[in-house]
Amino acid sequence: MSDFAIKFENISKQYQLGSIGTGTLSHDLKRWWTIHVRGQEDPYLKIGQVNEQSDKSSDGIVWALRDINLEVKDGEVLGIIGKNGAGKSTLLKILSRVTTPTTGRITARGRIASLLEVGTGFHPEMTGRENIFMNGSIMGMTKAEIRSKFDEIVDFAGVAKYIDTPVKRYSSGMTVRLGFAIAAHLEPEILVVDEVLAVGDAEFQKKAIGKMQDVSQSGGRTVLFVSHNMNAVRTLCSKGIVLKSGQVIFEGNTDDAINQYINVNTLQTAEIINSISYLNHEIKIDSVTINGASSNYLHLDGDSTSLQVVIEGSVATEKVLTLEVEIFDVNNNRVAFYGPGMVNGILKRYSPGRFVVNEKILIPRNLAGGIYSLDINLTHPYVAYYMKASRCVQMEYIGYQFASGHNDYKLRGYYILDSAE
């Protein structure tokens, strides 16, 4: 017998747009009247579902999930990432038996507790104490189990002072903390977590991630974690899958999954010039290239250590133009900045007519490999911006290849430090 905790087999979920109940009989009648008698479009069709899901067929059927096959091993922390509407929550909802799959089946070993939205089971009139018991039993725990964990829960949530106060008097942060504490302490074999960390403050987020790590490492329990916070996914998960339009498009180690997701998430190959978000009316841009290519995807292998940025265009009046390049990591943290006019004081002046900005930027050899994105701007430092192109290039930097061939240092930090000897 294999040691899986959850096995998804051919799981699909189909939603029929609009044609299921609209709420009241009169609405159903009205819809029937508009479609069949007057020959018009369905007035109750759900807006917003149509544009996103590309595999929607003409009869209003949407596949929220399609043929998901997946095995989650015992003690694994699986990160599920994907854009809004990719099917992440639907998958978790099926797993936590809130709704049923259209086809396929799931085998799960152990109790499942889901943290889809913490605190939903709370009754505002009841005290924290009463709610701990209530919420715990909703998750399928017995009273004895809850009682043995009670002090730990209160302690973790930090609500000891308010434990006999009705939950309606709690701040939203306290409610979330209490909700999370209950679910995390009640030792289900499988814990399903959907975007809960978005609410708590930084300190609590750290605590929560630490707790989840504990749960999976020491307890040998399985965690399914859905988040848009790539940092959290990276710290927590041992494996990642990427969902897109209801299908698993990637399954593998967390870093690769995150990179894959970021690639999927951005525009497919397009021209850099199309990403210009601001242009002064006195300037025209004809072409923008990096290392000779105009595409917005740039691959730098271990040997490339420079970026040759060439911008051609024309100006109507005399201008001071300085190239500015900013490098961001996947979490939108600025890693590096290039702006010669600002730093060195060399400002280049261009007379009316055609201009060519051509500069070579050196990338530090010890910059860690990973996915970065670039901003490219033309500016007169401290005076005005003439061109702005934010996140216009996706740069995949392989980084310096170490003799060991290991590549798993990706984004452990921005720089790889050398020994001084």
Partner: protein
């Protein structure tokens, strides 16, 4: 650990069986049922000054109103039973039925948020409402007993007899009817909310088709409505109660048997429909 895992292995599949009532699962969640009941009873009087006393005040007030309107103004006879006793008997049983039915028929709508987040046997929710109602009814039955003792002490003749022992059976019929009807209606309202408005109206009418404020003997003359009242499964419950405790009313094993059968069938049908709806209601509601 592995033993428990094997034991709790779970299979999630598109379609369930027609009659799938996993008593084992409900039993595993018995603590939740208890919490639900406790919650409903405790929150009933939270932030009130009189607290649990409200459980007693409600039937007393209704009785006074009934004595004034039906006994005083409309002059509907009570078969020689003291008015407070007569109305209190009817109100205790009827209140249980109507309150629990209104609440259970809202199961999916009121629990929408929590049903959408976590799984537990959905039947726990209406079941807890029915049991909470039962506890409330027992408290109110106490009021009836106190008034009863008062009248006995005063020397009024009340014909308590052996048929009073049928009380548990009456409770079973009432509870099955409420739960059965409640889950049927709640299943139907997930799609068409119209029914929700109809039900409050229907319950009001239903009271007049049940011998709550009048004894069955009053209606025996009217051929036009008698069939309706006799078809009503609540009629024999009311009459048996009054017959057993107050010695007045009509009792027949046939009518009681009919009510019993009726309630069991409704409960079964309810469970079938509820199971079909609970699996997919999240997509429709």
């Amino acid at each position: 650990m592995t033993d428990r895992k094997k034991e709790t292995e779970l299979l999630i599949e598109p379609h369930g069986k027609l009659i799938y009532l996993n008593f084992g699962e409900i039993w595993r969640y018995k603590d939740l049922l208890e919490m639900y009941i406790k919650r409903d009873i405790v929150t009933f009087y939270k932030q009130t000054i009189l607290g649990p006393i409200w459980f007693f005040i409600q039937p007393i007030f209704t009785t006074i109103v009934f004595m004034f309107v039906f006994g005083g103004l409309a002059k509907i006879p009570t078969d020689g039973i003291p008015q407070p006793l007569f109305y209190l008997a009817g109100i205790t049983l009827w209140n249980y039925f109507s309150e629990s039915l209104t609440k259970t028929s809202d199961t999916f709508l009121t629990n929408q948020a929590i049903f959408g987040k976590v799984y537990f046997p959905r039947l726990i929710a209406p079941l807890s409402v029915t049991i909470t109602g039962l506890i409330k009814m027992m408290i109110q039955f106490l009021v009836f007993v106190i008034v009863y003792i008062y009248f006995v002490a005063k020397g009024t003749h009340v014909g308590l007899n052996i048929y009073a022992l049928l009380f548990p059976v009456l409770i079973f019929i009432l509870a099955s009817l409420t739960l059965g009807f409640g889950i049927i209606i709640s299943s139907l309202t997930t799609k068409y909310r119209d029914l929700k408005f109809l039900i409050t109206f229907a319950i009001q009418l239903w009271m007049y088709a049940t011998p709550v404020i009048y004894p069955l003997s009053v209606m025996s003359g009217s051929k036009k409505y008698m069939w309706l009242i006799q078809a009503n499964p609540l009629t024999s419950v009311m009459e048996t109660f009054k017959y057993g405790f107050l010695g007045q009313g009509t009792f027949s094993w046939l009518a009681l048997g009919y009510s019993f059968l009726f309630s069991v069938i409704i409960l079964l049908v309810g469970i079938i429909i509820f199971n079909r709806v609970e699996r997919s209601f999240m997509d429709v509601i």
